[in-house]
Symmetry: D5
């Protein structure tokens, strides 16, 4: 499931002790986007490949693969990994309510998953840290023709 | 798929010209949670039932159903509705990167989908309005026993 | 699978001997979009409901349902109807080549299925009439963030 | 999923800096068909294999595989790649309306996916480029026997 | 799964003691096609509806439904009925060999399931009667464009 | 999906320029059965292995695999290859009518897919060649006990 | 899932306090076959319908349905009922060994599920009663043609 | 799907010309159980491994794998192999009648598939040999607590 | 999905303000078993039906349905309800480790789900109450025959 | 399905004759958790890796893989292994009753599968040993926002 290049990148990242945030800063992208490049769900530019090659000490010739448009997707229909499943559950439970609220605010259409950003923040809290996930996508109204 | 009570509630809401935000204010909840109550994905208290009964002019005896713990979930494994599908696609494309970033920040564990809030904001933008979806869930570290 | 309102609309259309093209002209939409309104895959405006009510002699109170945002989708994962299946087969056979050609011309991104039009033309041909289906969707480049 | 020969062809194409349109011109085919040959969804003739061998500097002995009738199809039932999924979504949302419009125009039958062409055009537009996909298939009326 | 009109037609046929062959002769079609009309997998003409109405003593107004283009297909992905399953098994076991033999004889293309006839014959045999199923479809060569 | 031995056999067959009909004659079987042996859906005898070994110039020691009873079946539940799919579609569309016609002629039971032959003929026709597929299976009446 | 007529038959059987063995004796069939008639998985003759009508005091006009050839099958792909699942598990665990033993004894072919009987016996045993299920089907060798 | 060790065992068994019955006698087990050991659906003891090692002339060090508890099961949800499928069909067609007959005889509970034996006999018959499959499992009544 | 009788029982239970523990005490069963009777996953005796009839003030004639052996099972393959899903996730994550530990302690075999009890306890804890689920099933060693 | 490192660990454990309980004591964890580490469903600390390396005489450099957060899950949707399936069956049969009992005791919410322990005990019993599985998870009440 996970591409070979991803395994190599993750291993090098661990050995260098670098975070996605640090690598993201190097290539001028957010940490989630940087991780998406690692997992071949997003493409890198030639410059970014060069930066990653230097930072991770991996030959640039191998990393050029990151510039090719990938066939995207997780693979399994219902994710079994508990962390990923929770997001699937959120769709199962809150999918219809979310749809109704968005349509009430915006009309018939969708939130783009392409003109879209995704960020994760850690919120410290005495009752236990919280994960804040922020999705921000352009609203696309249904064209009527 | 959609329960009968939901259809009744949505119809009454439309006739009264009320928004989820307005109804949410009445029952002291956010608009997404209020919509989740409508779709039988969350439960209401006796007080909230009373408030909704008054606001929507629906008999309280019918709305007590909203207090019963529902069997939750959307039904279809892969949602076909385009608005809901985009959230499924986000899991397909960004699920693994998201997992890696959360684990880098928090360690082995998950974002709770129970101790969890979900909010939608409309961001005005000259290039077209944007949908901002904010998920906020407690981080739960894996217990080692 | 097919909503009750759809059955009523199709029956009235047949009895009146009207085509989707004629009905589309009345409501200022293309014939495919008009058919999509019939099948509850697209929403109509109040004016359009009024026009359809008159043309099909169906009570406006029933047709207001056409203004509600539907939960969209065909239902079956792999369509069994031969006419619809051929379009599924086109994705199976030409999906990857199509992806590669679009990406070569436009870069990483997708053709929108929301800011999108779909038209059908009949091409007369001595060897047998041909169906021309024209899809026209805005290209959405992947946002990098 | 993607055959080894496809990977080789795509790599050589990239190194030579050739487009599907240029390669298509060499072998006298459209760019989508040429891409379909690359992905083993269409077969090439001996002449075309020779042309591709020269243009891509790949041994002809390897490319003869392109002449063998492939077992066609994408593999995954519901495509997860966003670009390909949009075409699946179009079937989900507009499948039944499309069926009805085609049948209204042509009677009971189907659009052939075999006696069929598929073309992609880039439409420049100040609001953003648009993807135009033209499908053109022979109408096949149901034989009554 | 089986439409109501089908149940009515089959019941009337049984009461009249008519065979598909006899009904087929009345409407000028083969017995399999006539059965396909009963099961809403093929459409009848106005004349045929009239003939069936008379023969089966069912009101013509009910039988006009047989003229509407149906959404075709059996429903279940893998048929569980043993008689139907055997045909599915034939595809599982002989699908690839059949493909190869047809391609060897005809080149790249398919047997049409639209310009197609299907007949059943009973072959008496001392070792037990045999079922002969004859499929006859136009060969459609893949168009290269 | 396709066994290694199949690939070898098909390659040798192509190099020798032999057809399934010619190979079938050598081993005293029909062409479809011969293809089924190639695809490991039917077993060969020791004599037939010897004949194939000579004709295809492949070591007999490799071809003895053809004598082992295989685990049969195509693999994919719904075949995506267009040629094979058409046969699946025939079951979807004509499965129930076929069942009814067979039962009308023979009573409760099935057409055997084991005591069964399958043949393909090419019918020349000015409007285009036609594929004739003849299935011939013993009728097996349901035993009542 | 369970047909209405089945529910009626089971209810009447319970009220009369009759066993499948007793009913089977009346209609000259085994108890499993008699239960299969109840569940519409096997057909009854006119005489048998008359006998059941008398024994169960149900109108013969209702029971004639039992003479119609049913569309057979359980419905769910993997049975969830524990008693039925155990038989599914036996196929999962012992399917391949069983296949190999049968083939060793009989050659390439199958055990018929049509020319087939199925019986259940109760074996008293001090360690707890045992269920003995005896399947007896004709061996059908693969025809080579 | 089939483990490597199974392929080795089957090959050695063929070369030695041994049957499952003969091997079973050596290790003091029935032929089906012995086949189940081959297919890694049942475990062997150290003694049995030694016996098999000698009889099949395979190094004992390789066969110790047969003592490890396997993850059991066939893999495919609906078996496509015709011999195995017939047993699946028996569940589809006779599952509910079987359940009812067992429950009538034994009460609420199941036939164990663990405290269970499975045997195959060949019944010679002038009309063609018959396969007799005998399942014998302990009845387990549902515990009420 | 949920049987009508279940809905009636749950409603009556709510109106009477009774808990499963209280009802369980009346019928001499645990609370989980009592709930299983409500959901038609376990059968009640005639006495228990009488007790429930009195306690819930529901006609005994309706409750006799609780004595009929049900077709058991939840229905959906992967449960979407979050509470039930967590148990499914435990199998996904801890299924193999659990298997290995049980086999290490007991040998090859299973924990019976029939000779089995299931209890739930509430453990008060300053950090938040805990759910304790105790499963207790007879170990069934694989019979070797 | 089972990772390579798992196979190595299990083999070494067998050779050393160590139990999960003994290994668990070494690394200060329960036996189920220790098995979960083996199967890559839980992560080990650096210290634990060192301990396992020593006890199993496997190079520490290989075992560091155990510290990486795995993508969790069993893989197959419905487990076919009988031991694991019984737990799936428990969800099918007792899932809804369990949900109702937990909700009656705790209100709307779930048992955490993260802040969770799982233990197995062997209960000696003259009628045959019993498996006791104890799940203990924090109750998480649904947050209302």
């Amino acid at each position: 499931m996970i591409p070979e290049i991803t395994v190599k990148l993750l291993k090098a990242k661990r050995e260098k002790g670098l975070t996605f945030a640090e690598l993201g800063q190097l290539i001028g992208q957010s940490e989630v986007f940087t991780a998406a490049v690692f997992y071949r769900q997003a493409t890198a530019t030639a410059d970014q490949v060069q930066q990653l090659s230097k930072a991770l000490e991996l030959p640039e010739s191998e990393l050029v693969e990151l510039m090719i448009y990938p066939v995207k997707g997780l693979g399994s229909t219902v994710p079994t990994d508990p962390l990923i499943y929770r997001f699937y559950e959120i769709i199962q439970v809150y999918g219809l309510p979310l749809k109704d609220v968005i349509q009430e605010k915006f009309g018939d259409g969708i939130m783009s998953a392409i003109d879209f950003t995704l960020d994760v923040e850690k919120i410290e809290d005495p009752a236990g840290a919280r994960v804040k996930v922020i999705m921000n996508g352009k609203f696309l109204p249904y064209k009527k023709w």
